[in-house]
Each structure stands twice: as C-alpha cells, then as structure tokens.
Symmetry: C5
Subunit: 278 residues, 5 copies
C-alpha cells in the first residue's frame, strides 16, 4: 500500500480483504430427478457435508442462494483468504458427485476492497480539530494512531463474513472510458467528489442494504463485482435506481448482467434440490 | 415509498405490485413426438394440472402463449406476490416430467410498477380547484384523502390479473446513458415532461392495447420489461412505431430482443403440444 | 389506418399485407445420411407433401432455398395472411419426421408493408392538375376515388406471391437512433425526402431486383426484414452497394446478418437432401 | 457494369471474378482417433479424392490450410465461377464420411473484385499523352482499346488461382459508418484519394504478400473478406500494422475476427488428420 | 526490419521473438472422474510425458496453470520459434488421450515483441555524449555498434523463457480507433510520448511483475496479448489499475476478457487432475 499521508499520489488507495467467488450453476433437472432416491440422498449427503465444511463453523465463508430466472438455479458464494483458497474450493466442488447434475452458468472473481482515501480524509479532519502543528512529530504520531484505528475499521469490513440477508443482487460493473465521458481521465478531485456523493447514497441505505464491493481489475472482465444483500427486494431496486441518477453512475457506470437470488434457508442444498415444491 | 407531497425529492416515485416472470421454452419436438401416446398423455395431464393450479381459479395469474419464430415455442407468463412466489413456481415447473422435453429459451424477471408522480400531479390539480389554503390542515386532509383514492386506482393496476388479449409482444428496454444523450442526467422536469408525452401515446391506444410495465432494475439485465396485449397484431406494431418517434423513445430508449406470441386458447398445453395441426 | 388526407399526422402511414417468416435450418448431415434409403424416402415423401400443400396450388406462398455458407443449409420462406397462419405452418413443420434431422438456424418474422404517404402524394399531384376546388365535395370524391385506385396497387404489392427469381438475399435492418444521428428525431419532411431518394434507387433496379420489405417493429428484433430476389447475384451486390452510399442508408441504416441463397429448382426438398452432387 | 468513361457516376466501379468460400472446421479429435485404422484410411481416401477433384488439375481452385488456435483446425478455401459452384462444393463436402468427424467453425462468402476506377484513371492519363482531341471518334476508339487491355489485366487478377504461399491470414472488414466518421458520406474524390494511398501500401508489399480482396456486400455479414498470402508470417503482421496507420483504415476500417493458418503441404488431408506429430 | 537510423519512417519499429499460444481448457470432471484409476494413470502418464517433452529440458517453453473461475480449468502456455512450432504443439496435444476429457475454452496467438524505437533513442542519446560528428563514418560505426548491443538486450527479452512467478493474468487488448479518440490517427511523436509514460509505469513494477507483450495484428482478434506474471496477486491488480489511469490506456486501450490463474507447482498435470483436494 502506498503512503497515504502525502496525498501527492493521485491513484485510488484501496485496502483489500477476502477474495470472492460467485459460482453460478443450473441443474439438469430431468437427469437429476431420474436418479433413484438412494442415489440422490447419497449425492446430497456428500455435497451437504462439503458445503458445511466450506462454510466454516459459524463463519459464513460460503453461502447458497436459489436464483430466479433461467440464467441459473443456484449460486455458491465463497469468501476466501487468497486465490489459492478460491481455487481449492471450486476444484473440490467440481469433484463432487453432485457436479454431474449441474451446468456451469457463470462465475465472477473479485477481492473485497475499501477506499483508504476516505479514511485518510476522516483522520485529517479529526486532527485539524486538535490544533497540532502539521508535520510535527506529535502530528505524525497522532496521524499514525488514528490511521491505525481506521484501518481496523476497514479491515473488519474487507474481511467480513457473508451477510445473511434474504435477497441477493449481484452485478459486475466498470467505470466508463468513453471518447468524451471518461472516468479515468477525470482529475482526482472530481473523481473523489463523485465517489463521495455515491457513497452517501449507499450510506443512506446502510441499515437496509449491505453492499459488498469486490475489485476485479486483473481478476475478471469488469472492474468491480457488486453484491447487495437486503431483506426487502424493493429496497434493492430503489437503491440501484437512486444510484443510477447519481452522476458517478449516470455518466460513468457500465453494467454487466444482473443476478437476483434468495438465500436458501440454512444453506440447505437438499431443500433446494430435493423438495417437491407445490 | 418516499413522501410524495414535498416534491422536493427528484427521483421517480413508483408503486410496485405483482412480480412477473416471462419464462420461454423451446420444445425438443422429435424427442417429444417419439414418446408413446400414453406417455404423452400422462406428461400432459401432470403439466395441465400444474398450470391450472398455478393460474389460480379464474384469476389469470399464469398464462400460456404459443410463440412465433425459432426463439421459443412457448411462453409461460406468471404474476406472483413476491420473488419467493416466482421462484417456487419456476422451480416446481422444472420438476414436471414435461420439462424433459423442453429447452430453456430465456426468462425475464420484473415487478409491475406505476408512477406516483402522475397521481401526485393529478391530486394537486384537483385540490387547486377547491380553493383550500395550501398547507392548512384541511388541505393536508384533502390531499391525503385524494391520494388514498389515487393509490387505490394504481394498486388495481399494479396488482392486476394477466390480460386476456390474443396477441402478446414482450421486450426489455433501458433508458439510454450515452456520452451526450443521457436520460439519467436530464433535469427531473424534463424527464417528467417526456414521460407525460410518452404516456399520452399509450393512453391513445388504451382501448386497443393493454400495456404492462415491469420495473427490473436490480432484478434483470434491462431496466424495464414491457408487455403489450392486444387483439389486433398491427395495432401493436403501430403503437411501438408511434412511440419510436416520441422523444422519450427516439432519443432515450434502448431495446432488447422482441418476442411475439399468441395466447393459447384456454391456456391449453395439450393443444399446443399434442394437436396435429394441418 | 389513420386518415391520410389531412397530412397533419407526421407518422409514416403504412399498408400491411402478408405476414412473412424466414425459417432457416441446418442439416445434421451425418445423422441424415446414416439412415436407410427407405427411411429417407419416407421422410422426404412426408416433407415434400407438406411443402406442396403449404406452398398452395400455383400460389407461391411457401418456397425453398439452398443457402450458401455454414450459417444454414436451407431456408423455408412463408407468406401467410396472419400470425396464426405463420404459427400453424412452423408448428406443423416441426412435427414432420424431417425435423429430427435439422438444426434451427434462425428465423425472422415480419409483415410486408408499403408506404401510403407516397400514394397520397401521387394522388394530390394528380388532383392538382384537374383544377378542382380544394375541400369541395367534388375534390373529396375525386380524392377518395384516386386513393381507392392507389390502394389497389399497393394491395397487390403487399399481398403478392413469393417472387421466383433464382437468388435471394435476406437481411434485417433498423434505422439508426444514435446520439447525434437519429432517424426518429428527423423532421418528417426530411425523412420523406430521404426515403424518396432511397426509393428511386430501388426503382432503377426494379426490372432486375424484386425488393420485399417486411415491417417487423414489435414482431422481431430489427425494424425491417428486407428480401431481395434477382436472377443475377451481382446485381444484388450492386443494388445494396449503391444504397449504402445513399444518405438514407449511409447515415441511418444499421444492418443485421446477411443470408444468401439459391432457389431450389421446383422447391424440391428431395433434390436438396437426397441428391449426391458431384 | 456502368459506363466508366463518363465519370459522372460517383459509385465505385468494380469488376468481379471468382466467388470465394472460406470454410472452417474443427476436428472431433477423440471421436476421429477412436476409429479403426481401416475406417480412417477409407474416410481419408474418399475425402482426398474429393479434394483432388475440387482443386482442379493444377488449377489451385481449392486449397487446404492447418489453422492455428482453437477457432478451427482446418480451412478449405474454394474459388468458383458462381454461387452455384460454391454451393455444390460445400454440399458435396458435407456428404463425405469425413464430415462426421468435423465441427463447422465458420464460413465466409465473397466474390473477388477489382476497382475499375483505377484502370479508368490510368487510361485517361495514358491518352492525355497522345494529344488526341477529347470526344473525337479517335479518342473514343483509343479509350476503348486501352480499356480493353486494362480489363484483361484486371480479369487475370479477379479470375486468379489460389496463391500458394505458406501462410494465410483471413479477416472480414467493413468501412465505418459512424455518426461523424462515415466512409459512405465522404465525397467520392476523398474516398478515391484514400483508397489510392491504401493501395500504395499494398503495392509496396506486392512481392511479399498476395492480397485477395473479396467483395461481400449482400453475400455475407461484412463488406469485404480480405485474404493475405505470404511466405513470411511477420510480413503479414507488418503490412496490416502499416495499413492500420493509413487513414483509409485508421479512421474508416472495422475488422471482424482474424484467422491465421499454414498451407498444408500438398493440400494433404491425410497428413493433417492422420500423422502422429511429435 | 526497416532502417531505424533515419527516423523518417513513422511506424512503430518492433523486434519479434517467440510465438506464444495461450491454450485454455475446461475439464469434463464427471466423465474424467468416472474413469478407472488405471485409465486415469495411463492418460496422465502420456500427457505428463508430452508436457515434459514440450517444456524443454529446463527451458520453460511450455507451462501449466490452474485457472480460477468457470471460464477454464487449465491453461497451457507455449513459447515457440515459429507458427509451425505452435501448430505442431497444439496438434500433438489434441491427439493425447487426455484431450477426450477436455473442453476447448479459448486460445490466443501472438508473437513477443519489443520496441526498437526506444533502443534507437537510447543509442542516439548515448552517442550525443561522445561528441562525434553526426553522419561521419565514425558516427555510423558507433551507432551500428551500439545498436548491435541494444539488439542483443532486446533479443534476450523477446526470446525469453516463460517466467516462473506464481500468478498469471492474461488479457488481449487493442488501441482504440474511435470516431474522435483514435490512436492510429495520432502524430507519431504523441504516440511515442504516451508509450514512454506507459513504459515508465511498467518499469516501476519491473521487480514485482514480469510483463510479456505479444503482438497479434494479423494473428488473432486483438492487437496485443498481454501476460503479467507476479508472486503477489494484488500487485497485478495495482499495476493494471495504475495503467488504467495513464493516458495511453485511459483514453486509448480497449480490453478483451481477463484470465487469472495460478502456476501449477512443477507443471504437474497429475496434481491438477488427480488430487482429491480437501
């Protein structure tokens, strides 16, 4: 991480945490349903044990969603410490007997990130109220102490567990690099002001919607993978609508496909695949 | 829903109703037709019972269309109270024996929405004729009473049954966010004026075409899913053509694929799959 | 159809005729050729009878083309009175045994259309030479009589049979709705002038190329499906090239994929599928 | 062909020759390799005889390339007199037993074309040196005689055999019809000047690279199919790079996918499919 | 290679080295895992021997990566002397028994290139310090000697072995040829200045990230294939992010899909396919 005190460096400073894999699958329903009850029980027992182990004891590192629409039947969401952890998880999943009954329906790799610029600004404002001489050793010590606190806060965000809200909306996005409207050609000040406005909208919904932003430059096809978690599906619609009117999005966002799903109660694979639903 | 009295908030205010799933399928005809008559009767009996139950007694909550062209053979259109209702329906459909003979051909998730801004404007005009002092408690009471009435009207629209016209045209669309032509960067006044003009065209056709607008921000890849229902196929062509010249569309609309179908008389699955048509 | 006398209404006035389906298929050659001679004869007998019946006695309502390139092996072109006629035809085709040996390779739905604006202009010019008082009952009677004649001419075009020229070129297209170059934002006068110029090019080739324009707004993904029929393949290339330089196309046309085929002599399915060609 | 003397007509005048099909296939290697040696020999004998017959005795009308990368394993390149010749060839190929082991991987139809405008200009310059009175019958006779010579030269180009260089690069392309940068809206003079500059680059490489330009307006999805043949792979890279900086390309060209292959020595199908390559 | 002394020629001068193939595959896991242990051992023995032989004794000419996400399971990266070497390698791989268990998931062909312009500039600066008379025979001899040294350096780069860092990020890219923002329409000076700035960023990371740039004009669909090799995954993210803000990328780069993988320890195919990973 570059030194964030100087502020001379205009790049966005980010702190990274868990790596995230969105792993989507369809089910070959007729093939699956044509298996004997015993076979299905055995397959589900193996897969359920795998998922329980992956999810971690009470840690919510893996979660299961039932997806709406034909794009996919289920989503496995994984948080891991590093790319190897992600790779090990997906590779072990593909070795399950359940995998024979699934059709890969898309995946997305990202790493949860948080902006250090914001933390830096907060600390500078806080210090300004303490009448320290800027540049003095006391100032530097105070800065270091405050930043350490802020980093703790950010770390708890980028190393968070999977939220347990009922609905999930996932979409990848990039900032526009158009011929005239180009995010990456904006002055750093303007970018920061836009992101601040954008952040405020998210903040207004923070009690209702948990927003997990994964950076994916160099990892996957878009620049970010955004996941929204909420207990009210309409509040997700409203948040994205409101953001769409915010200049940071209205002018600069380009969206990939949207995926909407429902957390499977108890991450219960058997329930999703076995239950005859009336 | 935000407070619509103040008018200070510039976002579009919407009322949401039924969730809608357009569920398209092709038929593996040779495989289907190679089954014995008994097998086909059994498969159709199960599927017909399912559809009857889904559709609700006389409630038109699910409907069947025969689609024209190779994109799909049939469309199942579902209106439900919430995402769980949609998900339960599609998941139970996939467990039918009929599903073995089908090929998923696309789906679209949205939620029927109506604009509260329009209702708000109507009420304000109505109150203006009653010489009440704006802001007085009588004014506020009158406003509340009138808005309650308008909400009833809107509710009957967003919680409507599936229209029973013969032809259906479905297409997803978004408002353009181009580098210079950008719906979301327009002043709210201008957006409202454009939508009013747009609404007038729809209104002119309201006896011939039922227009169901589903919002899909956060639910699917476009911002809306539009379904037109009419008994004359050319009036659908004419309505969309006329809208295409209207500035709200000519400058700001981006369309996805179009699907055109014919309501299957009596939502009769057997008729669609079984009848030898000369 | 709106009243075309007034001229006050700026929308393009069209007369619609036959619905058109372009139905493209590939052949699973190895699977087909692995069938016994008897099986193939039986399959072809059924399909040939179907095509003969569909085509209508001497009416050229259905026709067969051998397509060039890997996109498709054959095209079935159907003209019908209404969407139900199209749907019945495609559904009955899918029930033929031949269908087991085919791979759907794309379809396009449209309805043949002709411009009434042009007819209207012609009549107005004709009446101008007859020194009638505009608005008088004689003028109105003369207008009605002349328009009736013109409508007959247009009807014979939009209700035409399938042309029997040797080569076919089909492509879907839309008018551009760009951020600065936008057909639907042009003044009606300008659009008409552009279409007139465009029509003149088509007219110059009218002895060599039959151009069938199907409107497809609300029916399929583009706004028109254009089919050119000619006995000289290069004259098709030349016509489209010339149109590409015409402002109505150079600035405002957006083209979909092009399909090029050869009318199968006698619409002979057996010839296309059976003959060993050296 | 329009009269090229007058020069009044601003369209590009072209002479057309052979029709060209690029026919790309992948090989189902495991299926192919699982066949017995006898079966493979029989399949290859049939296909080799077919290719020998198609190629023409010493005429190089069909040729075989081994393609690099997963897009395709092999390319069959065919030159024929007319669309029927192309269609007959591809249809007969699909009837070979070899076809069972192949996967269609794309095709492109075009017709070799040469510009008459250039020839016309050359002749006019040549006549200008002979002090004939323009418009006189001698002038016209001289013009006709010189044009006849030039046509012979062009004919030998558009009716050429397949070049036998080692490497092939094929790509389709169109001229841009953007909102502001639009080839088809340029004055004819400017287009001609740009093409002249473009031609000069090609000419500079003419000893090292044979460039075959097939026009495909109305035949396939782009406007041209370009094939480069050379014995040095880097000279192909250099030529296209250089053209990319030339205004005719830098501003006006839009490229489709690129295919790179190696001429199979002796057009030897068996070698490509049979040989165990260390 | 054109003469680089004169500087009159404005094209980018490049030196080319190894041809590079990125060859991506998915694994048909259920099919693979359903094989007997003996079969799998035999398949892996053959494939492992093939890979060992391809990689060259200690030469790192072929390498194996485990890819993250559903796009692919494994990447084979090959460096070869010429297109024939690439083609021979991929063709021999397709003949392995292992190939039956794989699904092609994309490939990319390029040739490692380095800019001679930079070397030329370095040499000219160096000579300027030696007070030689420009154009004199001593000057020319000195220039030739220095350029020969520089070429050696570049050769060692374009003929390098495959880097052995743990993480790999691959993406194809092109320079933008937009209607107003067009790399190829820039003056050569401006292009060089932009590339110099771009190069500096890469240089700042040179200890942490090995960047291999393959030119692919005429070889594949984009203009370059870029591969980054690093031992820290976040440093790859940071480098690409930083470049995205650099004008050469922010305004002029267009990116294809991104692939992220982990070097398989010891290029061990058996480990990747066989190991049961907990």
């Amino acid at each position: 991480m570059a030194d964030v005190i100087t502020g001379a460096y205009e790049l966005p400073q980010t702190m990274e945490g868990h790596y995230v894999l969105h792993d989507l699958y369809g089910v070959h329903w007729p093939f699956w349903l044509s298996q004997s009850g015993d076979e299905r029980l055995a397959v589900l027992a193996e897969a359920t044990a795998w998922l329980r182990e992956q999810a971690g004891a009470g840690q919510m590192r893996s979660a299961l969603y039932s997806m709406v629409g034909q794009k996919a039947d289920l989503l496995l969401l994984h948080y891991r410490d590093n790319p190897e952890g992600i790779n090990r998880t997906e590779r072990s999943f593909r070795r399950l007997r359940l995998f024979s009954y699934l059709r890969p329906a898309g995946s997305y790799l990202s790493v949860i990130e948080a902006s250090l610029a914001e933390a830096n600004a907060v600390v500078l404002r806080r210090l300004a109220e303490r009448s320290l001489i800027i540049g003095s050793s006391e100032y530097q010590a105070a800065f270091a102490a405050e930043m350490a606190k802020e980093r703790k806060v950010l770390e708890s965000r980028v190393l968070r567990f999977i939220p347990d809200q009922r609905y999930l909306c996932f979409y990848p996005m990039s900032k526009r690099r158009g011929e005239t409207v180009n995010w990456y050609a904006l002055p750093a000040d303007e970018r920061r002001a836009l992101m601040r406005g954008h952040g405020k909208i998210g903040h207004r919904y923070h009690r209702e919607v948990i927003q997990v932003v994964g950076g994916s430059i160099g990892l996957d096809d878009y620049e970010w993978g955004v996941t929204l978690h909420a207990d009210d599906p309409l509040v997700i619609k409203r948040l994205i609508t409101e953001m769409r009117f915010d200049p940071a999005s209205s002018r600069y966002a380009e969206f990939g496909p949207f995926h909407f799903g429902i957390r499977q109660p108890g991450d219960d694979l058997s329930g999703l695949l076995q239950a005859a639903i009336a």
